[in-house]
Amino acid sequence: MFKDVYRREFSNIQPDELFLERLNDAAVRMSSNGHRSISRRLGILVAAILVLLLSATAVAVVQGKLLHSKIAGSGAEEFAEQVQDIHVADASDGFSLMIDEVV
């Protein structure tokens, strides 16, 4: 029968032991690398999120300080510095004038 002859002939065709051994090593390595790579990817993701959070906090702090100084600069303190009191007094006429003039 053709089937028997065919089966007999192909039963003798086997991959080399060395080839199987190497293939097995590669498969084991690849399988364990897969597990490692998942945890590695998670680690990278967490690190990236932390970096983003830190960056955002740093930017917020710097911007807050800038804003605070701007507000302070354009507020009463700065205005007060720019105002010069001018006092005009004429004692003889009993006239007295006080002008707060912005320089």
Partner: protein
Amino acid sequence: MPIIPKDNPHGIIQAFAPMVFRLAFARTRIRADAEDICQDVMLRLFRKSYTLESEEHLRHWLIRATVQRASDLFRSSWRRRVLVTESVPEIATHDIEDTPLSRALDQLPEKYRVVVHLHYYEDYTTNEIAGILGRKPTTVRTQLVRARELLKTELGSERRQEYV
């Protein structure tokens, strides 16, 4: 019971690599090519986290992947260049036992060899082969009939009694 190849690479290699190798060899008739295909297919299985429904499902996946990889190899421009420049019979037979069946299989068109192997070695019916390979059952039956005719012609009338 579902099978996760990554959980048992050693067992999967031991159980299925010989089948993949034989099928690849049946298609290519060259040991080195069969090893390349076998390696690519088996490692592809472990590269991603596949979950296969059953052992039969895994077997079908491997057969499909092997046939696909072998077709890719035959289509590659590199291989076409090599086959044009080198002696085909020398490549085809240098690393296998020289038997009448072996010589007849060498002469068989590549697309028929897979069907012959799956039917005569792996014991699949033509309908099952069609399902695995995604072909029409009539196409598989036609290929098998033509392959048998060609093999009979190649094996010669004096040997026919032994094989038929």
